[in-house]
């Protein structure tokens, strides 16, 4: 029991650290530094926080790994990640407006059916494996992994909420999941873009700087965002929506069909105690 509380605590702490690392432009206290705009210090921030995010991610992965892994789930996760990574090749190959990503379909659905931990690892590892295979390892990887992991993890929260719908076999279940996928399609883009914001456009002042208030920063980010990845994200959100709506039901049925066989754990029946006849 104590173990579960510790796990929960660790999840919370890591998620908080991760969120702070991702959203730090909004959090920095005002006027904390006398650093000149454009100086070394402000250029280091993004890298520093990538490291912090990476640490939070590692701790989280270690925690989840400890609780979720038996041989069957390892094999299952491996194969599903392979399918997702293969799908990601498609994402790179499709011409036209980028942003469409088929990987969130499986991340959301496996998180929904197999639980938060499984969904988390599914998100994180899909990104890792496709980065390894396509050579796309870069400093943006920790943010991608963290956010994708969160997509999978949060999908599990829907489970108790939608249980009633599922039991009645109603189609609303899929519509809600599709909406969920669309939401995360947008949010993923928002968060990832946030990562590149101070980095690509540089911490020049008047634009992004230390110590400006939250509201001001949000406005600035909103304008940056609209100019850059908004269209990409709309495409991604729309793609997720359509994918889940189109393929969600059969995929859910399949995943559920296999669920019992994968989560089964053998419990040996205790051996009968041998009776020894001592009395004559």
């Amino acid at each position: 029991m104590k173990n579960r509380w510790l796990s929960l605590l660790i999840y919370l702490v890591c998620s908080l650290v991760g969120i702070v690392s991702l959203l730090y432009p909004f959090f920095l206290p005002q006027g904390t530094t006398g650093a000149q705009p454009g100086s070394q210090r402000s250029a280091d921030m993004p890298l520093m926080l990538t490291v912090l995010l990476g640490l939070a991610l590692l701790v989280l992965v270690y925690e989840v790994q400890g609780q979720a892994m038996n041989t069957k789930l390892i094999a299952l996760l491996g194969v599903l990640v392979a399918i997702n990574a293969a799908l990601r090749f498609l994402e790179v190959a499709i011409p036209g407006p980028g942003g469409f990503s088929p990987v969130f379909f499986l991340i959301v659905l496996t998180g929904y059916v197999y639980g938060a931990r499984f969904g988390f690892l599914m998100g994180v590892l899909t990104l890792v494996v496709s980065a390894i295979l396509t050579g796309g390892v870069g400093p943006w990887l920790p943010s991608q992994m963290f956010t994708a992991g969160w997509v999978g993890m949060s999908a599990a929260i829907l489970r108790p909420l939608l249980l009633g719908l599922h039991k009645k076999g109603r189609r609303e279940e899929i519509w809600i999941l599709a909406g969920f996928g669309a939401f995360w399609g947008m949010m993923y883009g928002v968060i990832m873009n946030l990562w590149t914001w101070p980095f690509i456009a540089g911490p020049a002042d008047q634009y992004w700087e230390y110590g400006v208030g939250i509201w001001e920063t949000m406005q600035r980010y909103a304008s940056y965002y609209l100019l850059t990845s908004f269209v990409w994200d709309i495409v991604r959100a729309g793609g997720n929506f359509l994918l889940i709506l189109g393929f969600g039901m059969p995929a859910l049925r399949t995943l559920r069909r296999f669920k019992r066989r994968f989560t089964f754990m053998y419990k040996p029946t205790p051996a009968p105690v041998a009776q020894s006849n001592l009395s004559g």
Binding site: V81, I132, V137, G202
Partner: protein, 343 residues
Amino acid sequence: MSTQLHTWTWLAWLSAALIAISVTRNLFYLTLILLCLLVVYSFIEGANQRGAYPFSLLRFGILVSVLSMLFNMLISHFGETVFLTLPEKWPLIGGPYTLEALVYGLTNGLVLFGILIAFTDFNQAMPVRMLIRLIPRAFFPVAVVISIAVTFVPTTIRQFYQIKEAQMLRGQRMTSLIDWLPLVMPLLVGGLERALQLSEAMTARGFASTAPNSGNTAHRLVMVGSMLWVMAGWVVSTRAGWETLGLGLILAGALAFLAALWWAGRLVPRTNYLKEEWRTGDVVVLTGILVLGLALFFPFEWIDRESLYYSVYPLLQWPDFDPWLATALLVLGLPAYVIGLRG
């Protein structure tokens, strides 16, 4: 595809490259670093017989730099050398356009590009199995998942084409999204069935399921603790004047984290059978990296370290240039030399 250099050497080189890039904003030095990295890239690709010219990489880098340049110029209006002015009332893009902003954007683009090439070089130099072997033992179950995934991606892709052909022969036409269903479902189900078979095979070969989080409470606590320590160090370092203390805390926290990882790794009973050899090339590169580290951080008097911290603002001027530092930076090109020597 042999690794040419020891895994640890490549790691050290990668770290050196990343540190060098993040330490400086001097355009001369940055260009030098980028050149070295590109040369290494072409040698690696040449060794892998994949064609030796980094054209696509160059194109990407140019794209990134130009975008960053333009973007910064459009949005940031800081600086003193104005060459164009748009009416102020235009949102965001109104105001003076300065050369400083342009150059600053270019610099940032180059930094990003440099990081990208460094990682790409590393990725291309190391075969996937070596990359997987780098994963700390504490993450063994995750490493197994990654191995399985990497092993199964080619199978999955092949299966996809088989399924596509088979379904075409039932008269399936790809007219709408729904028509992808008969392609996706057999892939998914087939994968699940294969996962069951695989787990059976793994079990039969003695792969043990690990008990959930047993005996590693202390390890987890230390990991979380060291992470919080790093965070504290970061917070401290943002306060003016407390930077060095913050940096020290961060470093200490990071080391503690690594130690915790190593400690957690002891819990996993496993050995690594692969023995990599240390060769002269490794010695050469590692020595070079040491020299670079000294040049960058050790306060030698004859090295003008200030030239590293060049800043575009407020007024654009030519960056300083120290020949000693430049030579030290050339160290980053050593792997190309080593690979080239091997013929």
